[in-house]
């Protein structure tokens, strides 16, 4: 290589590069960053090389950098002369041969092709590849890329990082050349200032100002330093930038050197990045050979050289004074500022430190000017920023977005939303020293100021997405553990303060904590933030302070209820399934007992945890399935069907009386306290059962004629036969519970009376009013709310519903109504405005409905009900919707399109949700929320009126059976505590001998599914659809349990 000394030799290098980038033959580029290599890119490269060699193909092979889409690695790009550049994804070495064969014939394997690039804006140049492959989407049409703007990453994944010619071919070193020829250094500094470029390492200090300081410093031996010591866990943008495009970094630094009159530069690069070190070393060598570094840069008489120093990778070296100490050979501990490095830095000389990414913006600014640069980004933060998007999100990878882009664009549009069915709840920005931003704030534009206002930081651009399976207390603990171990130890607040904070947080995750410690943690966090010496300590409390601010309730859960909803803090739960069960059933115990053939003991275990085990065994939403660890191996243990089996085997057998007596034996001695329960639904029955067991006198007031609430009146016979429910109610009655039917609270017995006659009252009257939709035509005959319909069917007052029925809604009531209509001989269609996966109904029930012949219309919003002059329903008109923007619940909003359709029908059932009966609520004199639900203390369930507790749908709004029961159980416990002044609840469930259900290795058999009636049979009657597990199946299922309750 000869040094470039004039424009002629510069152009020659450029042409040489172009000939490599777009040769006369096809070119294949394999993405060989660390991420690609980790996914097998090296084997892919080798396979290509060997096949090309073996077949003597005229195809060029290049190792390029990373294109950013980490979840799609290994990525390969293919260019056939005259055609667009095509990106292939998930390429394996086994694919090499067929790719080559296709390319050789001018084709692209369609199964691997992801998108195409017809023209690429390298900012410093435009490269045209060609048009063609109409069937392939443009790269910018892929959601992951849509909206990205590649300024920093302009060359990444497209050129070979090891070849300076290719860099020059895409306009590299042109900005440097221009700056040298213009020879007006101050103007370049002005440009950088005007471009409002801010440091990309985190603090966001104006780069132009820093340069100005350096330019003004008279000392002839001053330094430029590039901080490439990326230390945030999960952040790898700097690594990727260097690995994919090292020359852009050099160019930025050389420009700075020239305009500030600095001759020596250092890149402090993390030693754990061997590939980056290797590529950077090569780039420096090549630049020296070309005379781009050295005594006379590009022959213009300017001296500049770059030295690489490998750092040991301490997080605290992100702090510039610590980095300088490390460069000087001292241990990496920060020093007080002033003096600032711009005055006294490395070896006491004026020093300017910029982060890797900052340097990548220099050449574009120098070439295209500040006006162009400020077109992108927000008012105070111009340009783009590279983020590493990781965590509980579908598409992970490096994304470069304009500053000021709202968080939700990152999460939902680029990231594609949550993984599986989990909902996202927060995003943590800025690495370990950033803060957690809750879902409600996803409208936040991502720029330096806004993030700071929310208590977070931009940092180096880490974005970790968290969903409901993340515990925010544990997240806070994790990050403090990290900064605690990275603290240099020099200043007291950070060294000792973080240790205390970690101590407190560790306690919280283990269930040892109290509210005083919570307040202390908050005070300590602020103190560490305000008093620490350097950025590490000043930002370390951010994760704690933001989670305390936005996720206070999770801390309260850990401290007051000693529960971790996410199931992460395992000292707070028996097992993941127990933790997720609203009734907190000891699932491993009853599985273990049944496995040993101890049916009666298993029943006792079940009934003490859950007084309606047969009903819940049929209709529960079974959240336990979602959390079962066995899910990661094959399928969750079928816990719901096992407890149904256990319950059915006793309740429906002649063991019933004996077992009832055994349970009744557990009753604590009479306390003489009188308690009342309003409403005999699932919550009320549950509370009554436990209050009776605890020795209290219990009276249940119910407005209807029979007990069961929704279980009896809303859930159809084919899902829950009435005789099953009746046995459960009978058991509860035999515990001594008195029922008063036809006694609606407030009209038949007033709250005042209850107050007078009882020592404690539990209100669980449920939600019995169907919400009404404002739809033209609802006044027509045969338009009926789902609850009214189902209740009418259950009580025998409704026996027909027309021939063709449209059901509006997507919840369990909608599905139940449609299937019931089917059994009455009608044709049923469910009309739902979102997609199937967003239906709140239990998935199995939706599937069953479909098998039986219920039609499902998604993305359809009711528009009006069309009637005839006689007032009969003729049709339901619907507007087709499409999924629009994500709303703040993380779901995409259905937006109406112009397309209108008709569902011919003669009856419409409205199943759009139930609400509380406001007349009762208002009359109660209790404090209500806006939606009519009662305000209660989250942990004690006390209402605003002494002695009165509330639970179930009246506090949550319409929910489901097991949630309601969970509240009933909790209320009984709290009422008992208040009445007796001691905690007695645990006494009810004692006496199980753990040796009777010792853990044994789990078996490998598949999940047992209960038999079902054939769909054709089902619709002919209201016989129960799901027959249940056989004894053999049930005990086999028990053997699948991994026994998470047993800890080493």
């Amino acid at each position: 290589m000869t040094p470039i000394a004039d424009i002629g030799s510069f152009n020659a290098a450029r042409e040489a590069g172009m000939a490599k980038l777009q040769p006369a033959a096809p070119r294949i580029g394999v993405g060989m960053g660390t991420c690609g290599r980790g996914n097998g890119a090296e084997e892919v490269y080798r396979a290509f090389a060997e096949a090309i060699e073996a077949h003597g193909l005229d195809i060029r092979l290049a190792a390029v950098g990373c294109f950013g889409a980490c979840s799609e690695e290994p990525l390969v790009n293919v260019w056939i002369p005259g055609q667009p550049l095509v990106i292939l994804r998930h390429v394996h070495s086994a694919d090499a041969a067929r790719i080559l064969a296709d390319v050789h014939q001018g084709r692209i394997p369609p199964d691997l092709a992801w998108c195409k690039i017809e023209e690429w804006d390298h900012i410093t140049a435009r490269i045209r590849y060609g048009a063609g492959f109409p069937e392939l989407p443009q790269w910018s049409e892929i959601p992951f890329f849509h909206g990205q703007k590649k300024i920093v990453l302009r060359n990444c994944g497209l050129i070979s990082p090891d070849d300076i010619d290719e860099y020059i071919a895409v306009g590299g070193y042109q900005a440097l050349y221009k700056v040298l020829i213009d020879s007006r250094p101050e103007m370049v500094i002005e440009q950088v200032k005007a471009a409002k470029l801010r440091g990309r390492g985190g603090a966001g200090y104006a780069t132009g100002l820093k340069w100005e300081f350096l330019a003004k410093a008279k000392d002839p031996s001053k330094y430029i330093v590039c901080n490439a010591d990326e230390g945030d866990p999960g952040a790898y943008m700097n690594r990727n930038e260097i690995e994919s495009d090292p020359h852009s970094l050099l160019e930025g630094m050389i420009i700075c050197g020239y305009v500030t009159g600095t001759q020596q530069a250092i890149v402090y690069v993390r030693a754990e990045y061997p590939l980056a070190v290797h590529r950077l070393t090569r780039a420096v060598e090549q630049a020296r050979e070309y005379g781009i570094l050295g005594p006379s840069v590009l022959g213009r008489g300017v001296k500049f050289d770059i030295e690489l120093v490998e750092g040991a990778g301490a997080f605290v070296c992100g702090e510039e004074t610590a980095l300088i100490a490390s460069l000087e050979g001292f241990s990496g501990r920060p020093r007080p500022r002033p003096p600032f490095p711009a005055q006294k830095g490395l070896d006491g000389k004026p020093t300017n430190i910029n982060n890797v990414e900052t340097w990548y913006n220099i050449a574009p600014i120098a070439l295209k000017g500040p006006a162009w640069f400020t077109e992108t980004g927000s008012a105070r933060s111009a340009g783009t920023k590279v983020f590493s998007l990781v965590g509980k999100i579908r598409n992970t990878g490096l994304v470069e977005m304009p500053l000021g882009t709202p968080l939700k664009t990152f999460i939902y549009d680029i990231g594609g939303g949550g993984v599986g069915e989990c909902s996202i709840k927060a995003v943590q920005t800025g690495g370990p020293s950033g803060g957690c931003i809750p879902l409600e704030m996803f409208d936040t534009p991502v720029d330096y100021e806004t993030l700071a206002q929310l208590g977070s930081i931009m940092g180096s651009g880490g974005m970790v997405v968290m969903d409901e399976n993340n515990c925010m207390v544990d997240i806070a603990r994790y990050f403090i553990e990290f900064t605690h171990s990275e603290s240099c130890g020099k200043c007291v607040p950070c060294r000792v303060g973080l240790d205390k904070a970690l101590d407190v947080l560790n306690g919280f995750t283990k269930g040892a904590g109290n509210s005083a410690q919570l307040a202390l943690l908050d005070e300590l966090g602020r103190m560490i933030r305000d008093t620490s010496l350097c950025g590490l300590g000043q930002t370390a409390p951010n994760p704690v302070l933001t989670t305390l601010r936005h996720f206070r309730y999770e801390f309260d859960d850990h401290i007051i209820a000693r529960r971790c909803r996410a199931g992460v803090c395992d000292s707070l739960a028996l097992s993941p399934c127990e933790n997720s069960c609203p009734l907190h059933m000891n699932i491993p115990r009853f599985l273990g007992l049944l496995k040993r053939g101890r049916l009666e003991d298993a029943f006792e275990s079940v009934i003490l945890d859950n007084p309606l085990p047969a009903s819940t065994g049929r209709v529960c939403q079974h959240p336990c399935d979602m959390r079962c660890r066995r899910l990661t191996m094959d399928a969750a243990v079928n816990m719901r069907d096992v407890h149904r089996f256990i319950a059915d085997s006793i309740l429906l057998s002649d063991h019933f009386d004996a077992m009832v007596a055994r349970v009744a034996d557990r009753k604590l001695p009479p306390t003489g306290k009188k308690t009342a329960v309003a409403g005999a639904g699932p919550a009320g029955l549950t509370a009554a059962f436990y209050l009776a067991l605890l020795g209290h006198d219990v009276t249940v007031f119910e407005s209807k004629r029979e007990a069961g609430g929704m279980l009896r009146y809303a859930i159809p016979e084919y899902r829950l036969p009435k005789h099953v429910l009746e046995r459960e109610v009978e058991l509860i009655r035999r515990m001594g519970v008195k029922f008063e039917f036809g006694m609606p609270v407030s009209s038949a017995i007033s709250l005042h009376d209850l107050d007078e006659q009882f020592d404690a009252v539990f209100l669980s009257i449920g939600t019995w009013k169907e919400s009404w939709v404002h739809l033209p035509g609802t006044e027509l005959k045969n338009v009926i709310p789902a609850l009214l319909f189902l209740e009418g069917v259950a009580s025998g007052s409704v026996s027909q519903i027309g021939r063709r029925v449209a059901v509006i809604g997507g919840g369990n009531a909608a599905v139940d109504a449609a299937r019931t209509a089917l059994r009455m001989g009608a044709d049923a269609t469910i009309v739902y405005r979102r997609e199937r996966k967003e239906m709140p109904a239990i998935k199995e029930e939706v599937d069953a409905a479909e098998h039986e012949g219920v039609k499902l219309q998604f993305l359809s919003a009711p528009h009006r009900i069309v009637g005839d002059p006689k007032g009969n329903v003729r049709a339901l008109e619907i507007v087709k919707t499409r999924l629009g923007e994500y709303d703040l619940t993380g779901r995409r909003k259905p937006v109406p399109t112009a397309e209108v359709a008709r569902v011919e029908c003669d009856a419409v059932i409205l199943a759009v949700g139930e609400t509380i009966d406001l007349d009762f609520a208002r009359g109660s004199g209790l404090t209500l929320r806006e939606n009519g639900t009662f305000v209660v203390d989250r942990f004690t369930l006390e209402t605003s009126r002494p002695k009165f507790y509330a639970g179930g749908d009246v506090i949550t709004g319409a929910s489901n059976v097991s949630n309601a029961m969970g509240y009933g159980k909790k209320a009984a416990r709290r009422m008992d505590e208040a009445l007796m002044g001691v905690k007695r609840f645990q006494r009810l469930s004692g006496g199980f001998d753990a040796s009777e259900y010792e853990a044994e290795p789990a078996t490998e058999i598949a999940r047992q599914r209960p038999a079902e009636l054939a769909p054709a049979m089902r619709v002919k009657s209201d016989a129960e659809v799901v027959v249940g597990l056989t004894r053999g199946q049930a005990s086999a299922e028990c053997g699948r349990c991994l026994r998470c309750d047993v800890r080493a």
Partner: protein
């Protein structure tokens, strides 16, 4: 070069001082005491203990008085409720970090940490004690190092390096595991660089470095051997 006189406000009071001084010095000249611990006259400041933090207003960060130079027109607040609260937390943190059991300490009654705690009213701590299991270095003839009392102010490190020029002391490890070491983490007696001058002992604010043979309460530090004893005593209060 004659030094330029400037005026600043400290807690509202106008104070005249000269350019180049730190806020801590200017305050002391004006008879105002800002609590400090890692600062020692005659040594380079490191701003490590954070006790001397003052508020320069404007909602900006708190600044350590020991390393922040005075500036014309500066308005310094040294005793806001927030600062007082933070200082107390710092002392609570130091007192619980290691084993500061005054009743059996040679420096009892002559300890800067103890004096500050009583001056700032720290009579109890809200954090659990760590009770680390730390060694004593009794290898040297005349002096002892008791890690249990060390607060990592690094005054010994600096006096040895800056004044004596011996560089015996350093800190190894990081975070809560930081430890004072002599030479390359060897027993003090085998630290060849040590000149036995004892400056470190006299500079240490607590009983971590002490003369052998001193019983409880007997170790009175002669800090004046390094700077001026009178200055030190007043600075502590």
């Amino acid at each position: 070069m004659p030094q330029k006189r400037i005026s600043i406000r400290i807690d509202g009071e106008l104070v005249s001082t000269v350019e180049g001084k730190t806020i801590l010095e200017a305050a002391r000249d004006a008879g105002r005491r800002i609590p400090s611990l890692c600062h020692m006259d005659g040594l380079t400041d490191v701003g490590a203990c954070r006790l001397c933090l003052v508020d320069l207003g404007g909602g900006g960060r708190l600044a350590p008085a020991c390393t922040t130079p005075v500036q014309e027109g500066q308005a310094v607040i040294t005793n806001s409720p927030r600062l007082l609260a933070y200082r107390r937390v710092i002392l609570e943190l130091l007192l619980t970090e290691r084993n500061h059991i005054c009743s059996v300490c040679v420096a009892n009654g002559n300890c800067e940490l103890q004096a500050l705690a009583s001056a700032l009213g720290v009579t109890s701590v809200r954090f659990p004690y760590r009770y680390p299991n730390l060694p004593l270095d009794l290898s040297r003839d005349r002096f002892v190092l008791d890690q249990n009392r060390c607060i990592l102010c690094t005054r010994c490190v600096r006096v040895c390096a800056d004044v004596e020029g011996a560089h015996v002391w350093d800190v190894k490890g990081r975070g809560i595991y930081s430890r004072l070491i002599s030479d390359l983490d060897q027993p003090w007696a085998s630290a060849a660089s040590c000149t036995d001058c004892g400056k470190c002992v006299q500079s240490c604010p607590t009983g971590a470095l002490a003369e052998k043979g001193k019983a409880v309460e007997e170790m009175v530090k002669q800090t004046w051997q390094v700077t001026n004893a009178a200055e030190r005593k007043r600075a502590v209060l």
